[in-house]
């Protein structure tokens, strides 16, 4: 029996569609995974990046960054990543992070950004996305949300996470159900473990703040 569109009996058509879908899905996933989201604006030896569908390569100025890319720096490595919305992230030595989410519409200038910091230091300078939605930096302990500003986040396994708010609308730190927010530049919050509470925002002594800035 041949049906009107000539694709043969129904079971054959299902198989045909399944093959087409089977061919399309990996392609579209590869497109998403290889989506360019930023660029390495500077890197010092040694910083490496691993896109989800490519091999690890040493980052250097001009290296394109991709969705879900993993970035690792060694004890002397540093890198600054510049994203399509104008955000930038300076990655300090001995750091390990993954760019989990980066969605940005240049026409509406809104989007969404999440980074997982397993260990190390980052200094985040907000671009367009953070003007309307908090950019989230997740750590094994909790997460930090940064709106319209500049913040420095440190995650050290066994020591906890610390976030310094340098400027902006607000910064939140969330561990479980505990959330603290600061809107005062020069303040910081910490959390020791996944079960601990977030410390109330406190002012960082100027000398200590500048010492931390020099970590980069």
């Amino acid at each position: 029996m041949i049906d009107r569109d000539g694709l043969g009996p129904l079971p054959g058509r299902v198989a045909c569609v399944a093959i087409v879908v089977g061919l399309l899905l990996p392609v579209s996933m590869a497109v998403a995974a290889d989506r360019e989201i930023g660029v390495t604006s500077i890197a010092n030896t040694k910083a490496e990046g691993t896109p989800p569908s490519s091999d690890t390569r040493v980052l250097s100025t001009g290296t394109r960054m991709y969705f879900e890319e993993k970035v690792v720096t060694d004890p002397t490595g540093r890198a600054q990543l510049l994203f399509a919305d104008g955000s930038s992230m300076t990655v300090g030595p001995n750091s390990d992070l993954v760019i989990d989410t980066f969605i940005y519409n240049p026409d509406t200038k809104v989007g969404d950004m999440t980074v997982s910091l397993t260990k190390g230091f980052v200094r985040f300078v907000g671009g367009r996305i953070s003007k309307t939605k908090a950019v989230k930096i997740k750590t094994p302990i909790g997460s930090i949300g940064i709106r319209g500003g500049i913040a420095m986040v440190e995650m050290q396994p066994g020591q906890g996470m610390t976030a310094d708010f340098l400027f902006g609308q607000e910064m939140t730190m969330e561990v479980g159900n505990d959330i603290q927010t600061t809107t005062t530049p020069g303040t910081f919050m910490t959390a020791a473990t996944t079960g601990s509470t977030v410390t109330a925002p406190a002012r960082r002594e100027p000398a200590a703040l500048n010492q931390r800035l020099k970590s980069f």
Partner: protein, 454 residues
Amino acid sequence: MPGIRGVVRNAGRRPLTVARTLLMLAVTVSWTGLAPEVHAQGQAPAAETSLEERYERAFQEMFADPANLDKAFDYARFAIQMKDFEGAISTLERMLLINADLPRVRMELGVLYFRLGSFEVAKGYLQEVLADETVPAVVAGRAEGFLAQIEEQTSRHKIKGIFFAGIRHQSNANAGPSTTRVRVLGLDIDLDSTFTNQSDVDTFETVRLTHSYDLGLVPRAEIESELILYQANQATQDQVDTSLAQVKSGPRFYADPDIARGLDYRPYLRWDLVNLANRQYYAAFGGGIDGNYVLGPSTRISSDAFLVQRNHNNTATNPSLTDLNGLRAGLSASLLHALSPSLRASGSAAVQREVTEDRGRRNWLAEASLGLTQVFSSPFPDLTGPWSLAGTARISKTIYDDPNASIDPNVTREDESYSGQVVAGVQLTGSTSLVATGIYKKVRSNLVNFAHDN
């Protein structure tokens, strides 16, 4: 300025309502550590579209070729012009990752963090500039200047001030009735023409000083105190010469952002002293609570609630002033909304209750206003800062509890007031402006004694 409006209302009951301003030319001077920055924010953006396009293009060029430092500097320059200080900061910090020995870049980073109000970070960069012995004297001097400003800004003590002085002409300086026939003891009598509306010129000065002391807490809390001084001297109608001193002080608390983001409030104590014709008219003491709530980057609500006890002194010419003794309570709210970077809208509403010893002078007052302020780029940018034009319309209604027997024992007074105000301002320097104001006010009353315009 509520305090000054308060003076006007009180002066008006001696014996006729005095409406003050008609036309005035004034100079205002403000002093605060950040005055130039604050004024800069109010500047109307010139050729915004083309600048924004160049800024976007510069970003795309830098993004495509991040190794090109000229493109990076171009972008940083446009970012600063667009007030995208974060964009400029990330670009300049990258320069330091490339070469840490760039004192001029550190200098600019210090300035940018200063502009953002992140003073401690700014201080760190500027101190590094000064520590570099190779830095030219000009750069070092500039760094020292910013460090001095940072010291001022990070000081727990902050003082701000504004001085406003001018000359004013009024068509009805004594707020006298336009007719000579008025009501007294329930009868129509003819008033001497010298007591009807009289035009006059006066000079006036206002000083407002605000001091705050940061308690060093997170969320922020500070002791905020303000002193307001006002004086107006008529050329001929010196019976309405007015002076005022008002002091308010109390702790201002900034709410925990997890509970009420953008809210601050201050319970305060208040003391007023008002003189009329160089004699003490009344003194008042009380307190209240004021606050601000930032709804968003362009909208803010302010409110005030107060209660004061007023005590008058009788004089030989006015032996019944103590009839006005009593409580005054007020509740007001205002909303300020930026429609665009150069256009602001405002609205306010207020209710006030006076409980005087004389029931015939007890009253309720309700008032509302709407305003628009447009800021323009200066047509002479080398000579002046931005220009502004503001218009405000105001309406109020006052209803008294009982008739005032000395005027008409059978009529309970009701007044309605309408006014329109236009204010044109030119910023002469970072902290000095020239202001010209025109006001028209009309008061309707069911008692002819109080109906007037000015």
